[in-house]
């Protein structure tokens, strides 16, 4: 594991420098550079197949780019495995929910807490003494902080597989939060949700980003332009593996290049307005 230094608000938390990623002859990312500062919501947009998810997989350690550096808190993390990156404070949700359908909501979230457990297999198999105390502390954290934040009290004991899709997405976010991450990668958290669910999810993302208790930096991949432009501090535009621009929502909205490459027509911003 890499030793990490303390990062203050506004410092660069995650840096991608000249990332290249190929699958055979397919060039998924060619020379992408991105800086994410602590405390911001940084969105990545781009048409389907632009390489957004590939980029997230590189950040998160599922893929290892052939060329380029990924630095987290100033340290190069290219070869750190996903679970070690999780320990460093990176959490993510997936475009298609990847929850454990047979487990309850509570168990799914508890699973995200796994890396914070200190007791080993042996002591963990007997619910006694320190292990018991630890378990109670974690449970308190989950109940007080996550279930309350995401307003899922009424389903805490329901198997996730039985819940509607919008709720499953919420549970997935809860599991990512259980890690107490510093950087949260959200891969299309709003895809497939209805209007009400979108509004709620957007509120949760803002809460997690702004609320003093959390202040999590978010890397958001999303197609819903209305939400992206409302929530983001900065927007990064990707097209066929190339970076088109990186700027504030206003800059991106008024950039002719972006409009041409991705948005097509001007009035497409307002998809849900």
């Amino acid at each position: 594991m890499v030793a990490v230094s303390e990062i203050k608000e506004g410092d660069v938390l995650l840096e991608l420098e000249d990332i290249h990623m190929y699958f055979g002859k397919v060039n998924a990312l060619s020379g992408v550079s991105l800086k994410i500062r602590k405390g911001e919501i940084h969105s990545v947009i781009g048409p389907n197949g632009a390489g957004k998810t590939v980029m997230m997989n590189c950040v998160n350690g599922l893929y290892h780019p052939q060329k380029g550096d990924i630095r987290y808190k100033g340290e190069r993390v290219n070869h750190v495995s996903p679970h070690d990156r999780a320990k460093l404070g990176m959490a993510r949700t997936f475009q298609k929910v990847e929850v454990f359908g047979g487990l309850t909501v509570l168990d799914n979230i508890r699973l995200g807490r796994h890396i914070h457990y200190k007791s080993g297999i042996l002591s963990g198999s007997v619910y006694f003494g320190k292990t018991k105390k630890e378990e109670i502390e974690h449970r308190t954290f989950i109940e007080d902080e996550i279930i309350d934040l995401l307003e899922i009290e009424h389903i805490r004991n329901k198997p996730v597989g039985m819940l509607p899709y919008g709720m499953q997405k919420r549970v997935e976010l809860g599991r990512a939060l259980a890690l107490e991450p510093e950087l949260l990668i959200l891969d299309e958290p709003l895809a497939g949700l209805n209007l009400e669910e979108v509004e709620e999810m957007a509120r949760f993302i803002l809460d997690v980003n702004e609320e003093k208790r959390w202040q999590v930096t978010c890397l958001l991949v999303e197609h819903d332009m209305g939400v992206v432009m409302d929530l983001s501090d900065r927007v990064f535009v990707l097209n066929f593996g190339n970076m088109i621009m990186d700027g504030t929502p206003q800059e991106v909205q008024s950039s002719q290049e972006v409009i041409k490459a991705y948005l097509g027509e001007e009035d497409l911003y307002a998809t849900r307005a």
Partner: protein
């Protein structure tokens, strides 16, 4: 306990808190998955510092303090604190729209408003500048409140801090304030839901509230060790009656569920001993049992059929006061073990000694349903103007077409026009800023209810309907549309029904299907639909509804049967003013709003064209263009 003219709610609160102290649990709230107890001593201290905080913010005698939010301890503390500080409590329904909030806050001259969290604060903020009397808005849930910095916003914690500071300076102040109160002073300003007009504010004194609670408790005593679940809006007088009037006198534990979605589950966890809910709650329970029955396996269904057949039989014997033969008792025991015990547990009714329903009419079918299960369900009749209730069924003397006998201290009479009038120490002081309405309602100390009814041979009161709602059928007989509507609602597929037919040739009905239940039924029948309005207009759904109406039409005289009906393209909703906040149908309003539908029902058309705009809660609008079928029910 003696209720003197001197006794006030705060005085009683003080006595009870001293008596119970730290040994007894006053309330519980489920938070973060755990039931957290609050002892009487804690309750007392929370209230004390809120009271003093309000005083230091400038609350004076007679000032109005409004509360809005879900049921939670903080809501009750705020109300109690307002009373202790010699203010007057005003409750608003949690889901009230901005206009309703504005009207009540403005009309009542509210000075302080307790909101729960961001949602309520947002409502309050949007009306703050239109209500000049409003001074401070107090909130207690910090969620989402990080960006609010208006100087008239203050958190409950800060109010209590102010209270603590004042307490250091004037340690006797709290007790002095309580001692100053008098039982005949106004305690609550309660806005009635009003099916016809703007809400009216009923002024209720401490004495009104306390005598009403005592009278009910002499009929059906509760124990201090009982549990009660508070989940219905505090703005409903029935909830005030249970949580304040009765709760304070008996000292039972009041339990607050985690949230509105978890209420049913939390009730089951607590298993309350006493319960008071409007019919819609019992209707909901009935529906969920009926739906689960339809879903169950063959064997389970057979067991249920056996148990309910036995249950109905035994309940009918009891209704007619015939002794139950030993073999029926035996079968009933078997039904209890196999089905009813579990069923009651699932509904949270396993420990209920007395369950009350009131506030609107409940159909005899629902009534029998609960008695068949062995739940001692009783009708209550009352109104906000008598601080809750005046008439109730006595155990063992249940007649499902009556509402029972007057509670002690209450006199009921029927005027020559058939109007029900009441006299009791709980009759209210009058309407706030509305002397004409007061003069109409209060004549020589008799409260005129505007309800029609009569007293039957057993001395039970029978409430027919609101005077203006009683129909005259074509054969000249009076008829209550509510009776037919409640019968229709016994079907799990029907959420609401609106029966029309006053002085007309025949009776018609506008039906609202239950989206969840009918939707599931349609899924099983492989009927496609995308929305409520599409589903409601399918001919298969018309067949289904027709079957339900035929069932309700059975054993009714020819003139009282429904001859035509249509399925409404939307559910009736309190937000659209079609129902009151307690879900009573506002007949005059819907008749005007759906004029075209009514006209079509009394013409030869078999289709009515709808072209209307629906307004959503967040202000969005959408157009609806559809054709509603009108179906005739052929005579059989």
């Amino acid at each position: 306990m003696e209720i003197t003219k001197e006794l006030t709610i705060p005085k009683l609160f003080f006595q009870q808190a001293q008596a119970f102290g730290d040994d007894r649990i006053a309330m519980r709230e489920k938070e973060f998955g755990i039931w957290c107890p609050i002892t009487w001593k804690q309750y007392f201290e929370e209230v004390k510092y809120i009271t003093l905080g309000l005083v230091s913010l400038g609350l004076e005698e007679g000032d109005k303090v409004a509360m809005i939010g879900d049921n939670r301890p903080e809501g009750l503390w705020a109300e109690m604190a307002a009373l202790c500080a010699r203010g007057v409590g005003v409750w608003l329904f949690q889901e009230s729209l901005i206009d309703e909030v504005r009207y009540i806050i403005d009309h009542s001259d509210t000075k302080f408003l307790f909101g729960e969290g961001q949602e309520e604060v947002d409502k309050a903020l949007s009306i703050f500048h239109e209500c000049p009397k409003l001074k401070k808005i107090i909130w207690d849930d910090p969620k989402g409140m990080r960006n609010y910095d208006e100087d008239f916003l203050i958190s409950l914690k800060e109010v209590q801090q102010l209270g603590r500071e004042l307490d250091l300076k004037q340690p006797q102040l709290f007790e002095d304030l309580i001692a100053k109160g008098h039982g005949e002073e106004v305690a609550l300003l309660f806005y009635t839901s009003g099916t016809t007009s703007l809400p009216k504010g009923a002024l209720l004194s401490h004495n009104n509230m306390l005598t009403m609670g005592r009278s009910l408790m002499t009929v059906d005593p509760c124990l201090a060790t009982d549990d009660y679940v508070s989940y219905l809006p505090f703005a409903w007088i029935g909830e005030q009656m249970m949580s304040i009037s009765c709760g304070l006198q008996i000292g039972y534990t009041i339990n607050f569920p985690e949230g509105t979605e978890t209420a049913q589950e939390n009730i089951r966890e607590i298993g309350p001993h006493v319960m008071f809910a409007p019919p819609r709650m019992y209707e909901q329970m009935t529906r969920s049992v009926q739906v689960k029955y339809l879903d169950a396996t063959w064997l389970k269904r057979k067991f249920y059929e056996f148990a309910s057949a036995v249950g109905y039989r035994v309940a009918d014997l009891k209704f007619s006061k015939t002794p139950v033969p030993w073999y029926w008792s035996l079968l009933s025991g078997l039904a209890h073990i196999t089905v009813h015990k579990k069923l009651k547990d699932h509904l949270g009714l396993s420990r209920v000694r007395n369950a009350y329903t009131g506030g609107a009419a409940m159909g005899p079918d629902h009534f029998r349903f609960f008695h068949a299960m062995g739940v001692n369900l009783k009708q209550i009749y009352g109104q906000t103007e008598v601080a809750g209730i005046s008439v109730v069924h006595r155990s063992g003397e249940i007649k499902f077409d009556t509402v029972g006998k007057a509670i002690p201290g209450t006199e009921i009479q029927i005027t020559s026009e058939g109007e029900i009038i009441t006299k009791s120490p709980s009759v209210f002081l009058g309407y706030f800023k509305n002397p004409e309405a007061t003069a109409k309602a209060l004549i020589d100390g008799w409260l005129h209810s505007d309800d029609r009814g009569f007293i039957d041979d057993d001395g039970h009161l029978v409430v027919f309907d609101r005077t203006k709602d009683v129909f005259t059928l074509r054969d000249g007989k009076p008829f209550s549309p509510q009776y037919l509507e409640t019968r229709l609602k016994f079907s799990p597929y029907i959420k609401d029904a609106w029966v029309i037919g006053n002085e007309r040739d025949y009776i018609t009905a506008v039906m609202c299907i239950d989206y969840a239940v009918v939707g599931k039924w349609a899924d099983e029948k492989k009927i496609n639909y995308t929305s409520y309005h599409e589903l409601s207009q399918q001919s298969a759904i018309y067949d289904l509804v027709e079957a339900q109406i035929r069932q309700a039409n059975k054993d009714l005289p020819e003139a009282a049967r429904i001859a035509k009906f249509t399925n409404l393209y939307k559910e009736l909703d309190a937000d659209d003013d079609e129902l009151t906040r307690t879900r009573k149908l506002r007949r005059a309003f819907v008749e005007k709003r759906y004029e075209d539908i009514v006209k079509a029902l009394y013409s030869d058309n078999d289709i009515v064209h709808i072209d209307t705009t629906i307004k959503y809660e967040d202000g969005r609008e959408s157009k609806i263009r559809t054709d509603m079928t009108i179906r005739k029910i052929a005579r059989t």
